[in-house]
Amino acid sequence: MYHTTTWLLWLLAALLPTMLTRNPFYLIILLLAVAVAYSTIGRSSPMAASWGLLLRVGLSLAAFSALVNPLTVHHGDTVLLTLPRLSLRPGGIILLELGGRITLEALSYGLVNGLSLMAILLIFATFNVLVDHHQLLRSIPAFLYQTGVVISIAIAFVPQMMASLQEVREAQTIRGHRFRGIRDLLPLFMPLLTSGLERAIQLAESMEARGFGGDVSHSHRKQELAYKASIALSLFGLLAGMFWYGYFPAARWVGGSMGAGGLLLLVWTLRAMGRRVGRSRYRREMWRHRDTLVSAVSLLSLAVFTLFWLLGRRALVFYPYPRFTLPTFNPLLGLASLAPVAPVLTTPKKGKAGL
């Protein structure tokens, strides 16, 4: 439907606000925009069933957070009610105190935290529903081809296992097997294990038949060693640079340049390694006009949030303690949080054109 890169940008644009802001207004808009994206263009996807599950998980997480925060945090000026206290204080130090003063501040903060958790979950759920996983895997960089294979097997594993579990259960039911307790698991489990092993062997054979791993142009031992040394060196430079940057604030430029150097070396090495792997594509993804539109909207939203964050976080923060005040609402940021709905607007209607 859309290019994988478009979806990745969409994911970034939807996720960044949840990381940068705790303002409930933007979170609500974001959440609803993602929900609209799912319920319009995502509903027909084969993965759609998982969305409802994640929604339920998100709701329960939000409810948990909204309940636990006011019960455990007693600060804030606006006391709603006072409950009997139950405290846990090993060695005289208050570790946990349930009940006591229930404040509006703690309640609102818990609610907002729950909201942001739910938003993150729903964004990933919607992304899962909308994106083509196989295309996503294909966009893994070439030098990571082994990782790509592992991930694609892992992704295929769960649905295949569910399907084969269903088969085994049906077969056993026909034979009169009834599930009553933990002991009855064995007749289900054993066939599942053997079929899984069989599938693994089958996969390995088919991969070998297709020449997996054979395309890597063989390099000299020395060159292989040089790549490894280069990766180790670049990672060391990166870590040492980060450490230096944080620990010696007086000479930041040393750490900064060390880290940047390490990063550059790493990128160069990985690129050089990736060039040795020849990959062919049978079906190329198409970049359509609507991809440009959605990507532009996502980038714009990312830019707005980053700009607000850099220029001063006051517009983004919501911190109710010590006294609750309603957060402000900036229409520009509100519009930027609306970005996840962009694919809905640009997707052509059914029957008109395209997918």
Partner: protein, 424 residues
């Protein structure tokens, strides 16, 4: 140090609080509470100081007290901790048998009981140590009411002055009983550097109902008082007096007390030219290096500043002698005349011999028959919602909400359009 019988008695519990600010000034307060124990953060909050803290799942971290610290959440709570072994933050201490002990727990998790002394210090520290506040015993902070002798035993450590900083917010009106004490300056002061002071009002003339900005920038001072109220060195304040006012800045420094005045002329369209000046005001040359009596009687309605009894510094290593009796509540306007300022007069800059200081009622150095009500008031502020929830909506806020609702409606429309298009 003997605990006072007052502290042991049944009834409200008391805890001493010592806060050492970045400039070395120290605030002490006896905080009263009715529970058998409260958290350290609660003590700080009930002291009436302006505290900003970061609340997280594991507890609360104190980011800012009054003007020292970090403005969470617009900046990180430990904004002066850029990494590295040491950083500047509010370290938390407990006074255990005459010495400060770095707190083993966070402020929201540490239980404070009757008779404890809590310490906070803004300064460089690591995880496990830091700049210690000066040792001030419980009995010095929470003096028992019957013995009204404010004998303050000075601490040999760090802070040369004990500068109580009363709160800028009007809710923290200090109780009107002040016990002025006269304390000579220690003779062995280190090389004194004269303070650099700039005190201005802009504009200098306003009409009734308008406001002007008072601004002061003071360097090398031990304490700064605006009309008797402790303030920080660099600050601006909006004032809206209804008649011509003279504002006085008292700068206490190592070279003595300096007073600076600015006058804000208020042009009243209705002819009421008589300014209510207290008779003791001397029409002095401004800025005057010769100290003047603390004469100003600011009207609370006009300035927004609660009428306070003069605050002051007490210089340690001396015993303070009370020279005036506590003032009754009703005679607030009489405060200036009752203050001993004229007695312990002018400290010529080179020959400083004595420094007249007045201690605010919130200070530990005060005989306080009124500590109860003060603490109770502070408590009431914390527990009850003293500021109503924002019900009055300002115009820009309303516009923002309108935009929010508009965006939500837009989302619904997008959804409906899709749904209808699907059907049609």
């Amino acid at each position: 140090m003997p605990f006072s019988a007052w502290a042991r008695a049944d009834g409200p519990s008391h805890v001493g609080l010592v806060v050492r600010f970045g400039d070395g000034s120290v605030f002490t307060k006896c905080v009263k509470f009715d529970e058998d124990q409260i958290s350290g953060l609660e003590v700080l909050l009930r002291s009436g100081l302006n505290v900003i803290y970061q609340q997280s799942g594991t507890g609360a971290a104190v980011c800012k007290i009054e003007d020292d610290g970090c403005d969470y959440p617009s900046e990180p709570c430990f904004c002066q901790c850029p990494g590295g072994p040491t950083c500047i933050y509010w370290s938390y201490w407990h006074l255990k048998s005459g010495a400060w002990e770095y707190s083993p727990a966070g402020a929201s998790g540490y239980p404070v009981r009757d008779g404890d002394v809590e310490g906070w210090a803004w300064g460089p520290g690591t995880t496990g140590s830091g700049l210690e506040p000066p040792v001030i015993e419980f009995s010095s902070i929470c003096a028992p009411p019957p013995t009204a002798t404010p004998t303050h035993t000075p601490t040999p450590t760090a802070a040369p002055t004990i500068t109580p900083t009363p709160l800028p917010t009007p809710r923290d009106t200090p109780s009107p009983t002040a016990e002025p004490t006269e304390t000579p300056l220690p003779t062995d002061t280190p090389v004194p550097s004269p303070p650099a002071v700039a005190f201005t009002v802009h504009p200098e003339t306003i009409t009734v109902g308008e406001c002007a900005e008072l601004r002061w920038d003071v360097e090398h001072a031990q304490a700064v008082y605006l009309d008797g109220q402790g303030v920080v060195g660099h600050q601006a304040k909006r004032v809206c007096p209804e008649q011509t006012q003279t504002y006085e800045l008292l700068v206490v420094s190592a070279v003595g007390e300096l007073r600076y005045q600015v006058t804000l002329n208020v042009v009243d369209l209705s002819p009421t030219p008589v300014p209510t000046d207290t008779p003791t005001r001397t029409a002095a040359v401004q800025p005057t290096d010769t100290p003047q009596p603390q004469t100003q009687t600011p009207t609370p309605t006009a300035t927004g500043v609660p009428l306070t009894t003069p605050t002051a510094t007490s210089v340690p290593s001396t015993t303070s002698l009370p020279t005036a009796t506590p003032l009754p509540t009703a005679t607030r306007r009489a405060i200036p005349t009752a203050t001993p300022m004229p007695i312990c007069t002018p400290v010529p800059v080179p020959t400083l011999t004595s420094l007249a200081t007045v201690i605010p009622p919130t200070s530990a150095l005060v005989a306080k028959p009124d500590i109860g009500p003060t603490a109770a008031a502070a408590e009431a502020q914390v527990t009850g919602p003293h500021h109503p929830l924002p019900s009055a909506v300002a115009a820009p806020e309303a516009l923002g909400w309108l935009a929010f609702v508009g965006l939500l409606v837009l989302l619904v429309l997008i959804y409906l359009r899709w749904r209808l298009g699907e059907r049609g």
